[in-house]
Chain length 141, copies 5
């Protein structure tokens, strides 16, 4: 089975940590790197479209999304979240493919760091684990 | 009639309680265990897709969803709720199948415990009762 | 012309008041009781699906929804509202049928009582009046 | 070119002011009254369906919506807005017709009065101007 | 490759700054002005429909949106944002075209000015860079 990861470059210090977490989970599950497609997009806003692009190839058992939306001085972060999370559900529903959440939405940079460290609370790690579980569920069903 | 239950494993102490509540309601209604399909997903985020997977089999009279989204330090819980509840309505509308709510959205762990105990306020119990009522309504209509 | 009313049983003291209000408006408009279909669902969450079920029969000039979502200790009420109101608009749009609002969303029980009494502020009454007006508009257009 | 205006009767003191503003803008643009269809609905909730009804006739270059949602004691106004604004975007997208916003969402009655007076800040006036601009854009494109 | 920019005229002092930022990014990427289509709409509300109009021509590699929604005394800005951001995602998904965000949502005019100045934090500049990156990604995929 092949997997895809969509990574937002924005807040890259954080998203690289999340990406490493995701790759670690795949490694633990013995998914070879050659079976993991990584697609980079500028920011969280672009994640659903890239996920859509990957979903419609019907090549991947699941798609992991990786991004970090941190609260700023304006409501920019709020409205991005408002639009992207439903859009990700819609990609999943349209193509019947698991699209799991390694996008963190934090009030502070500290929160973002805590969720992207090299441990099992890393949200990229959790998202990849969820992708593996869901792929297994789909295989059985 | 067959029924399905989608259970999120996240916050499992709570969701097992909700699942037991749902099974109790089905038992009271004399639905044999062999007619209840239980599907487990990693977290609440994955419930709509699993519900979709079950709905399109057209095998179930209703789907009960079981999950526990508890408010944390970030807005993660908010955005999950923001996306999953409309997505569950859409699965129901697309397949004309009742998809009932045993997903609790709590501000505290205490609230989550109170809604997953072995009594008639158990929200899994209520969701299964709603599923039974709706299945009956659909049969008559 | 036939009309349908979807009533949520949850918070039944309130929703019966709203239902009586709706029936009163239909009576004032001389719509015979035999032309009014009443469908009962467990809670507000199930209203859109029941409205959908009725809409697709193409038998009704309009559908009145009756429910009472009262703010509780958790955000349960918020997320139900978040999902059901757009879902009701979608049923209306998909079948080009007026689906009017006798669902009250209250912060307190007192507010719910005030909006379900036997007077012209009764929101079930208002919703049925709106249904009658919209049915007339559709007939003319 | 023909234009349509959907007016919500609820809070009629305000919405008549907005309607007059819209008509004034059309008059300034020398659109004859005979080319302006006015449709009245009970409240803001019913505006999207009426806009849909008008859009699918493919007779109008644009649709102006006129309504006044004023914050009350409950969250009724919030949930109406929550559902109707996306629904209006969907009507526009489905029929590729400009649907412009003369629906005001106010915290106080004073705000509603200020936005419906006979001047160029009248939001009905602005919405009709937007409809005229968009119709011109569509003609050129 | 051709690109399109949809600019809202409302709060024009700000949106012209954002537009200049977008054009600067395209210039840096050596996209000739003749390959950039600029479409002007009255306000942010009309951006999704104009984006849709451009997307369905299938002529553009990406669409940049430029607008400035500044918090006012009413909730008008909130409800516009509530509807337009999901609508922009839907245009992107429907036509598989990158639609990037140069729409700023600010609490104060000062914030809007800070995000529309002639520098690399200009959000029109960032949105055009995102459009260029996404167009490249689509070309490769």
């Amino acid at each position: 089975m092949h997997y895809a990861i969509v990574v937002a470059n924005f807040n890259q210090e954080i998203t690289e940590g999340l990406l490493h977490g995701a790759l670690k989970a795949f490694k633990e599950a013995r998914v070879p790197a050659s079976r993991i497609k990584i697609v980079r997009v500028p920011g969280a806003w672009e994640i659903p479209l890239a996920a859509h692009l990957l979903a419609r190839t019907k090549k991947y058992a699941a798609i992991v999304t990786v991004g970090a939306v941190v609260k700023g001085a304006t409501t920019h972060d709020y409205w991005i979240n408002h639009a992207i999370f439903p859009a990700l559900q819609e990609v999943a529903e349209e193509y019947m493919i698991p699209v799991t959440l390694g996008i963190i939405t934090c009030n502070t940079w500290k929160q973002a760091e805590a969720r992207s460290r090299n441990n099992h609370d890393n949200r990229g790690y959790c998202a990849a684990k969820a992708a593996l579980n869901m792929a297994e569920l789909f295989e059985k069903t």
